[in-house]
């Protein structure tokens, strides 16, 4: 098997996985902060 197939597979898994983790962390953070702020403004 071509060596490059292993190289591309490694980069794709790590880079796409890191991007997915980053986006998910950002979205959950924003949603939690939005919820906290909207409850705060309801006072």
């Amino acid at each position: 098997m071509n060596q490059w197939a292993f190289v591309w597979a490694s980069y794709a898994i790590v880079l796409l996985g890191s991007a997915a983790t980053l986006i998910w962390s950002y979205r959950t953070m924003k949603s939690a902060e939005h919820k906290a702020n909207s409850l705060e403004s309801r006072r």
Binding site: A9, Y11, S18, L22, S25, T28, M29, A32, E40
Partner: protein
């Protein structure tokens, strides 16, 4: 350190830091990946598969660094009762588990063309697999026993005890016969040629900054969730 025990003061610092860590981390990882894929030379023995180095080493470094951070935060939580230490430990666990899984997967992919097998039961690989299971157990324990956004004392003790696996991973290639190569970068220096070393250092730093940004985001999320829970309890009591 105690100046940042106050969540408001911490958030004031964490908000701009998250962005900076993210921008610098992404720039460094993209740069190092492009260099690793298209500019760095192939290795005399491993050929082009050596390019996996720039992505495999940072993930394993973060797997070990993540648990070291959990152990340090757990000690700070137990000894100084720093309220943010428990939040930090809980925030590190998930990205730590993710990068440990990435280290195992990229290691397995690299092993196939280099060693002729996807997996071998040797000291280094087993100890990293144990680290992954420790992360999963820590996440389960922290979720079951979360206290005011942080983690319970039992979870913190588990975080400290689990750190015994870190020197085992580090020394595994010396203590046991292994297909895995011995450490190339030690306190005494590096045996890697500079053309491989510099992009590797940039990649490690870039992934570390991304890891830092994820931890800060998760800490902000946990603090916001704690705020929501406290507010809902107050509203229910009124």
């Amino acid at each position: 350190m105690h100046a940042y025990a106050n969540p408001t003061r911490f958030l004031k610092l964490a908000r701009p830091l998250t962005g900076w860590f993210l921008v610098l981390g992404i720039a460094m990882v993209v740069g190092a990946s492009l260099y690793g894929l298209f500019v760095a030379p192939a290795d005399r023995l491993m050929g082009d598969t050596v390019r996996i180095l720039y992505i495999h080493v940072p993930t394993v470094w973060l797997a070990m660094g993540g648990w070291t951070a959990i152990a340090i935060a757990s000690v700070i939580q137990i000894v100084w009762r720093h309220p943010l230490a428990a939040v930090a430990a809980r925030a590190v666990a998930l990205p730590g588990a993710f990068f440990t899984a990435m280290g195992l997967i990229t290691g397995s992919i690299w092993a196939r063309p280099t060693w002729g097998t996807w997996w071998v039961w040797d000291g280094r690989i087993i100890s990293v697999l144990v680290l992954f299971f420790l992360y999963i157990a820590y996440i389960a324990l922290a979720s079951a026993s979360s206290a005011q956004g942080g983690v319970s004392r039992v979870t913190a003790i588990f975080g400290i005890v689990g750190a015994i696996n870190i020197p085992i991973i580090n020394r595994s290639v010396v203590w046991w016969n292994s297909l895995h190569q011995p450490a190339s970068i030690t306190a005494r220096g590096s045996s890697i040629d500079e053309s491989f070393l510099w992009p590797l250092m940039v990649s490690v730093l870039g992934f570390s900054l991304i890891f830092g940004a994820i931890v800060l985001m998760r800490m902000r999320m946990i603090l916001a969730q704690t705020k929501v829970e406290a507010r809902l309890k107050r509203m229910a009591a009124e």
